[in-house]
C-alpha cells in the first residue's frame, strides 16, 4: 500500500463559488506524493467545537508542479463550515492520500456523472483520464444553475452536459433524464459517478441493465479513514467492506445495491 501522510498544508486560495461551495487551494510544504482520483483526505477542522473527528474530503484536483491540491467543500455543518472559512495563509492538517480511487477504464468511451458536491473527485479524474489518453465527458446535475460550480474547469478537459432540477440550465430534471443517457449504449462503456446515493443507485441499475461498467464513490460516515475502526462499512457481495480502504470507489456490481 502506498504511504499515507499527516501534514500541514498552507491555504493559498479560498475561492467561493456559491453560498454553499468553496474551492480551497492548499500548498504542500515540499513535494506532493502521488495521488489518484477518488482518493480523499481526512481534514482536521481546527476551531470547530463540534468537529472532534476529521472530515473526509475528496481530492478535487492536484498540481504536482506547484505542489498544490484542491478541495471542493460544501458547507453543510460545523466541520465544513469551519473549513470553508479558512483564509489565505491559514494552515490546515491533512491525513492523506486515503482509500482506493477509480480504476482506469478498458475503454475510451467514458462518462463521468456527478451531482452536488459529488462533483469533487471528477475534476481530478477527468484530468487523470485525459493524461492517460482518454477523453472524458462530464454529465453534471444540480438543483439549479446557481449550484453549478467550476463548469469552465470541466470544459477545459472535455465535453460537459448539464441537468438542473428547475431547468435553469441544461436539461430539466435529474442526470438520468439527460438525452446523453438515452443514447448511452453505443457511446459509453464506462460510467464513473459520485454524488447523492439515490442518484448513484439509479445509475448503477441503469448500467447493470445495459451491461456497462459502473464505478461509484460512497460517502459513508467515517471515524479513522484508514481501516482501523470499522465504522464505515458497506455491504458487498463479499460481506461488509470498509468504505475508507476498500473504497470509497467500488464497482457498482460489487455492492449490495
Amino acid at each position: 500500500m502506498p504511504k499515507k501522510f499527516k501534514e500541514n498544508f498552507k491555504v493559498i486560495a479560498n475561492e467561493r463559488q456559491t453560498s454553499e461551495f468553496v474551492v480551497l487551494t492548499l500548498k504542500h510544504p515540499g513535494q506532493l506524493p502521488e495521488m489518484f482520483p477518488g482518493q480523499f483526505a481526512e481534514v482536521r477542522a481546527d476551531g470547530a467545537m463540534e468537529a472532534y473527528l476529521r472530515r473526509p474530503l475528496s481530492i478535487h484536483d492536484v498540481d504536482y508542479t506547484n505542489n498544490t491540491l484542491k478541495l471542493l467543500i460544501q458547507d453543510v455543518g460545523p466541520g465544513t463550515h469551519q473549513l470553508s472559512s479558512l483564509q489565505k495563509n491559514d494552515e490546515v492538517n491533512l491525513v492523506y492520500p486515503l482509500g482506493k480511487g477509480y480504476d482506469l477504464p478498458d475503454s475510451d468511451k467514458v462518462l463521468l456523472v456527478g451531482g452536488g458536491c459529488g462533483v469533487a473527485p471528477l475534476l481530478f479524474l477527468g484530468r487523470y483520464l485525459k493524461e492517460n489518453g482518454i477523453k472524458p465527458r462530464f454529465l453534471i446535475g444540480a438543483r439549479s444553475k446557481s449550484d453549478l460550480v467550476e463548469l469552465d474547469a470541466y470544459n477545459r478537459l472535455g465535453e460537459v452536459f448539464v441537468t438542473t432540477e428547475d431547468g435553469s440550465m441544461g436539461t430539466k430534471g435529474f442526470v438520468i433524464h439527460h438525452p446523453v443517457m438515452k443514447t448511452f449504449d453505443p457511446d459509453f462503456e464506462w460510467l464513473y459517478t459520485c454524488g447523492p446515493e439515490a442518484m448513484m443507485k439509479v445509475l448503477a441499475k441503469y448500467s447493470r441493465e445495459r451491461n456497462v461498467k459502473c464505478q461509484v464513490s460512497l460517502e459513508n460516515t467515517m471515524a479513522c479513514g484508514i481501516g482501523a475502526c470499522l465504522c464505515c462499512i458497506t455491504p458487498t457481495v463479499e460481506g461488509h467492506k470498509c468504505t475508507c480502504i476498500d473504497g470509497p470507489v467500488f464497482d457498482a456490481n460489487y455492492l449490495k445495491w
Partner: protein, 305 residues
C-alpha cells in the same frame, strides 16, 4: 534519564502507553504515522470464536467531543487471527494483547484457548461488556455474578496474563472489579464505552442502526478517571486506565489516579500519531518533575484532608 518501562503483573512494557481495542486495528494500519514498535502494547480488535459481520451501517455518530460506535464485534474469528493475522503482525517488536469477546462463556473459553497457543502473545483482554449476550440481554460486565463466572471459566483455560475490561455502565464498578480480581484476573482495564444514543432531529430516526451505541472520546474522560481512581483504590491487581486520553497530560492524570498503564482509543482517529506524542510527553513531564520511574507517578494523587 527517565525510565518509561512498566510491569503489568508478569509482563514488561516499554512504556505505559497501549492502544485500545477496536480503535487501532492490528497496529499495521497506523504504521505510516508512527513506529508502532515504540508502543507499550497494542490491544487488537475484539476477537470472537467465529467470524462476525457486526452490525448494519450506520455504525458511527459524532457527539460533542466524542463519538458513538455500534461496530458490534466485526472480525474474522479467532482462527483467522491465529492463521492469517498473527503471522503478518508478529514481526513487530511490541506486546500484542488480544481482546477476547463473546456471547457465551463457551465462546470466550474457545477463543482464549486458541490464543493461548500463541506463545508470543503475553495476555488477553477479556471484553465482558459487549451487548447482545446470553442472560436476558444483560452484558456479562454489568452483573457481578456473571462477570465472575466468565472470568473464572477463562482463567481455568488461559495461563497467560488475564486482563479483564470493565464496563462503566454500572452503579458500583469497584464491586465488579473486586469480583473479577477474586476470580483470578491479573489486571483490570477500564473503561469500555458508556451506553449512549444519537437522534437525527430532521429525519426523526436514531443515527445508529442499533439505536444505542458506545460513547468514547474526550467527553468520557472525567467519568473514566473517577472509575479508575475508585477501582485502583479497591483492588490489589494493576489497573489499566482508558477513556478519552488524548494527551500526555491526560495519561498522567490516569497514572496519578492509580493506573499502571493506559490505553489510547478514539484519539487515534483524530491524530494517528497521538501515541508517539503521548510517550514523549510523559517523558518530558518526568524530566520536568524529576521523576525517574513511572511507578512513582502511579497512584501519586495527593489528596489533602
Amino acid at each position: 534519564m527517565v525510565d518509561l518501562s512498566v510491569t503489568l503483573g508478569n509482563i514488561n512494557l516499554k512504556n505505559p502507553v497501549m492502544t485500545a481495542s477496536g480503535t487501532f486495528g492490528y497496529g499495521e494500519e497506523y504504521s505510516d504515522f508512527i513506529n508502532i514498535e515504540e508502543l507499550g502494547g497494542i490491544i487488537v480488535k475484539g476477537t470472537t470464536a467465529t467470524a462476525r459481520e457486526g452490525n448494519a451501517y450506520p455504525r458511527m455518530a459524532e457527539t460533542p467531543m466524542g463519538m458513538l460506535n455500534a461496530v458490534g464485534l466485526q472480525n474474522k474469528g479467532v482462527d483467522a487471527f491465529v492463521n492469517e493475522t498473527w503471522p503478518r503482525i508478529k514481526k513487530y517488536d511490541t506486546n500484542f494483547f488480544v481482546n477476547v469477546s463473546g456471547s457465551t462463556v463457551e465462546e470466550y473459553i474457545e477463543t482464549a484457548e486458541k490464543i493461548a497457543s500463541i506463545n508470543e502473545i503475553p495476555g488477553i483482554e477479556l471484553n465482558i461488556s459487549c451487548p447482545n449476550v446470553k442472560e436476558g440481554g444483560m452484558a456479562f460486565g454489568t452483573s457481578c455474578p456473571s462477570a465472575i463466572a466468565v472470568t473464572e471459566a477463562v482463567r481455568k483455560v488461559y495461563p497467560g496474563h488475564l486482563m479483564v475490561k470493565l464496563s462503566p455502565n454500572v452503579t458500583d464498578v469497584t464491586e465488579i472489579a473486586k469480583g473479577v480480581e477474586g476470580a483470578g484476573a491479573d489486571s483490570v482495564s477500564l473503561i469500555n464505552t458508556l451506553l449512549g444514543m444519537a437522534i437525527d432531529a430532521e429525519t426523526r430516526k436514531p443515527i445508529l442502526s442499533t439505536v444505542t451505541g458506545g460513547l468514547s472520546g474526550p467527553c468520557v474522560k472525567p467519568v473514566a478517571l473517577r472509575m479508575v481512581w475508585q477501582v485502583a483504590s479497591s483492588v490489589d491487581i494493576p489497573v489499566v486506565g482508558l477513556g478519552g486520553i488524548s494527551s500526555a497530560r491526560d495519561a498522567i492524570e490516569f497514572l496519578l489516579a492509580g493506573a499502571s498503564a493506559i490505553q489510547v482509543g478514539t484519539a487515534n482517529f483524530r491524530e494517528p500519531d497521538v501515541t508517539a506524542n503521548i510517550i514523549s510527553g510523559i517523558s518530558d513531564y518526568m524530566e520536568r518533575h524529576n521523576i525517574s520511574e513511572i511507578s512513582d507517578i502511579t497512584g501519586g494523587l495527593i489528596i489533602e484532608k
